[in-house]
């Protein structure tokens, strides 16, 4: 797996825990959604952990755990399945402040969409990273100077810029 953050391939400091693995005492690790409740219960307040969730997850299922989570990874079962974008928006609306990660076969061209919806990092399989290098991911991020939507992250808003131009 390769991890993209701020237009760069970086080393992943998080470890995805297999379901049969015991919860570790230290380190940053990611549990599956079915183990989340148990993890929140038994782990101390200092533990650093995250959860990977299907894109069909109801945000309400995560609300109670949100303050404890440092990372939420949303699975993209197919790159053209856009449900994860809306889920990311809803988790940000619920004031999740930790790392939001998109995990799946996302292509570089979707990077601005992911950033816009509140994702921080993208996790892709190595074969995809071999074809789509850092330059392509950075290129996608810089393809547009501004966007038409307001309230989405990343690029500046055209509508906002127009308002400023009128007022000045």
């Amino acid at each position: 797996m390769a991890l993209i953050s701020d237009g760069r391939f970086i080393e992943d400091t998080w470890r995805r825990l297999a379901d049969e693995e015991a919860l570790p005492k230290t380190g940053k690790f990611i549990v599956s959604l079915p183990r989340l409740e148990h993890a929140v219960e038994v782990l101390g307040p200092m533990a650093t952990f995250g959860v990977i969730v299907p894109n069909t997850t109801e945000p309400s299922a995560l609300i109670a755990a949100l303050p404890r989570l440092d990372l939420i990874s949303i699975a993209f079962p197919a790159f053209a399945d856009g449900r994860g974008f809306s889920l990311a928006r809803l988790l940000r609306r619920a004031e999740f402040k930790g790392e939001l990660r998109a995990s799946g076969r996302l292509v570089a061209d979707q990077y601005p969409h992911a950033i816009g919806c509140g994702f921080d990092t993208i996790e892709i399989p190595d074969d995809l990273a071999d074809r789509q290098d850092e330059e392509q991911w950075r290129g996608a991020l810089n393809a547009y100077s501004m966007s038409y939507q307001r309230g989405y992250a990343g690029r500046g808003s055209i509508l906002e810029a127009r308002r400023k131009a009128v007022r000045s």
């Binding site: 399945d81 856009g82 974008f85 919806c117 290129g139 501004m146 309230g151 127009r162 009128v166």
Partner: protein, 574 residues
């Protein structure tokens, strides 16, 4: 130079009545071209697989068809300037085969572009403030509007500022570019629906409440395709300042809950059908209530900025009816017929709305050659403030012509083969490209349209028949809107043979209805016979003032079915 000419010269890309790009719009579209150029390069270099490339080329209007690529250019809310029409002609000559095809969703299709040329075509379009953004793909498509917008006498408000507002909001939306399926929005601001809003994913009807405020009736879940549905009201009066937020709520509900397990059940109409409109309305209202509305706080200001572009052109004060037009009608029966059939009432006295039919007898519905496009551009500059419209009936509209100029315009159109006086008549057929071009098609559509058109080539007979919508699709995806044709024709394939299913009683307007199947399928050769028998039966049965659909509604489907059955006994194998 007249004052109007001077203003046109100062703003060479537009009459005074449509949106013009500012620096942000221009930058956005040219960045889109650069991005696509890079995507094509990466596709050819192998960085993108065909599967990965597909949604991105589709969102730039590029389809892979039966024989070649097809590029679908957006004509937002159907409005074109003369300069834009000329550019469409130039592109057809330079990169295609000298013609283009106007579609039922206010787009223009080029049927033969090469993949490597498409970035240059998009760049050429961007120079005249055009693009092919989101004319395909599982995203919010090109927003369409009433083609008589701004000039129809029955209008509450011009729907085009709303459509432009939505065009911008929906362009490259971060959240809604990978929806379960395509998503089409249409807007009307009139009392009569010419935009078929009840058969769109979202239909917007501009309405006025008791306090005289403008708002939107929002309809969701209409659509044609293999499972046709009439849209249902999800918001009865949404104030303008809430429109984008309300639409965002609908799109979010759809993006999250629309089916993705079966592409044939992925449209929002299926979600509405399966969950019921009450559940969907509750979900949308809950989402709307939960949203952070601050990003929408200045929507009204932006709307007003856009609306200012759509000011009426500088009309002259004229008598309600032109004496010279009346005199010319008396002298030329052909001109008189053209005026009676193709010319509609305008909200300004002394002006007229002219429909230029792209349905010559025996022609390909919606096709225009580059020469014809240039004639239309010239005609719009000479007679209509340089503005043109594209209708969902695949015709071209000149929206502001002085009645005094109609005769000169008609002569100009006639010389270019563009004066067919059949707007709304039986030969004004909507047809998809069908098996002649399309990889989805199961049967031919264009030759069927041509055969019906030839069968009714006697124009006086057509006028006697009156308004009659014939619509033909070459497969169940229903791009030819057959479900809402008073006579609908659906081409299928049965045991290797083309078979055409006839439906009656479809209606795309506010009185929307889906056509009912007449009987077993017929062969391609039989279609004109069947249509002719149905029409003859209607003529025999109709009462004063009744259109085909009125008679059908009054006497019922069964009586028309009997016509076919009797016909079958007479020897035809139906």
């Amino acid at each position: 130079m007249t004052a109007v000419d001077l203003r046109v010269a100062q703003r060479p890309n537009a009459p005074m009545t449509t949106y013009r790009y500012d620096e942000y719009d221009a930058a956005f579209v040219s960045e889109r071209v650069a991005e696509f150029r890079e995507q094509v390069r990466r596709r050819l270099a192998g960085a993108l697989t065909e599967e990965e490339f597909r949604p991105f080329r589709l969102m730039n209007g590029l389809y892979l068809q039966l024989h070649a690529y097809m590029l679908r250019v957006a004509i937002p809310y159907g409005t074109l300037t003369a300069r834009q029409m000329r550019r469409l002609a130039d592109i057809a000559d330079r990169w295609d085969k000298g013609y283009g095809h106007f579609t039922t969703r206010q787009n223009l299709q080029y049927n033969w572009p090469k993949l490597v040329d498409t970035p240059d075509i998009l760049e050429s379009l961007a120079e005249v403030e055009m693009h092919a953004i989101q004319t395909s793909g599982n995203c919010i498509r090109n927003v369409t509007a009433d083609h008589f917008a701004g000039v129809a006498p029955d209008e509450i408000e011009d729907p085009r500022p709303t459509a432009e507002f939505l065009r911008q909001w929906s362009s490259l939306h971060s959240e809604f570019s990978f929806l379960p399926r395509k998503f089409k929005i249409a807007v009307t601001g009139a009392e009569h629906d010419r935009a078929a809003i009840l058969v769109h994913d979202i239909g917007l009807r501009i309405v006025k409440n008791d306090a005289g405020e403008i708002g939107y009736q929002v309809v969701v879940g209409g659509g044609l395709g293999r499972s046709p549905f009439i849209g249902k009201v999800v918001g009865n009066f949404v104030p303008r300042e809430d429109l984008l937020a309300f639409l965002e709520a609908i799109l979010r509900v759809y993006n999250r809950f629309g089916r993705r397990d079966n592409k044939y059940k992925a449209r929002v109409k299926i979600l509405v059908h399966e969950r019921g409109i009450d559940e969907i309305r509750a979900a949308v209202e809950a989402e709307f209530a939960a949203m952070d509305r601050s990003p929408f706080a200045h929507d009204s200001v932006e709307f007003e900025r856009i609306a200012a572009f759509f000011a009426p052109p500088p009309y002259d004060s004229l008598p309600a009816t032109s004496a010279s037009m009346r005199a010319a009608k008396l002298e030329s029966p052909a001109f008189s017929n053209f005026v009676d059939v193709n010319v509609g009432a305008h909200k300004i006295p002394g002006y007229a709305i002219v429909t230029v039919s792209l349905k010559p007898i025996g022609g390909v519905p919606g096709d225009a050659t580059s020469d014809q496009m240039r004639v239309l551009a010239d005609a719009s500059e000479r007679f209509g403030f340089g503005e043109l419209r594209v209708s969902h009936e695949q015709n071209i509209i000149l929206p502001h012509v002085k009645q005094d100029d109609l005769f000169a315009l008609w002569r100009m159109l006639d010389a270019a083969g563009l004066a067919t006086a059949n707007a709304g008549l039986v030969s004004d057929i909507i047809s998809c490209p069908g098996l002649d071009y399309c990889s989805l098609a199961t049967a031919r559509s264009i030759p069927i349209a041509q055969a019906i058109s030839k069968r009714f080539s006697d124009m006086s007979r057509q006028r006697r028949i009156g308004k009659l919508g014939v619509k033909i699709s070459g497969c169940i995806n229903a791009c030819g809107h057959h479900h809402v044709g008073a006579i609908g024709i659906l081409g299928l394939e049965k045991k290797g043979q083309e078979s055409y299913q006839i439906t009656l009683g479809g209606d795309p307007t506010f009185s929307a209805s889906i056509g009912e199947i007449l009987g077993p399928g017929v062969t391609a050769e039989q279609v004109p016979d069947v249509v002719e028998h149905l029409v003859d039966y209607y003529l025999a049965e109709r009462e004063e003032g009744e259109a085909f659909i009125d008679t059908w509604r009054r006497i019922g489907h069964a009586r028309f079915k009997d016509v076919l059955r009797r016909e079958g006994e007479d020897g035809a194998d139906i």
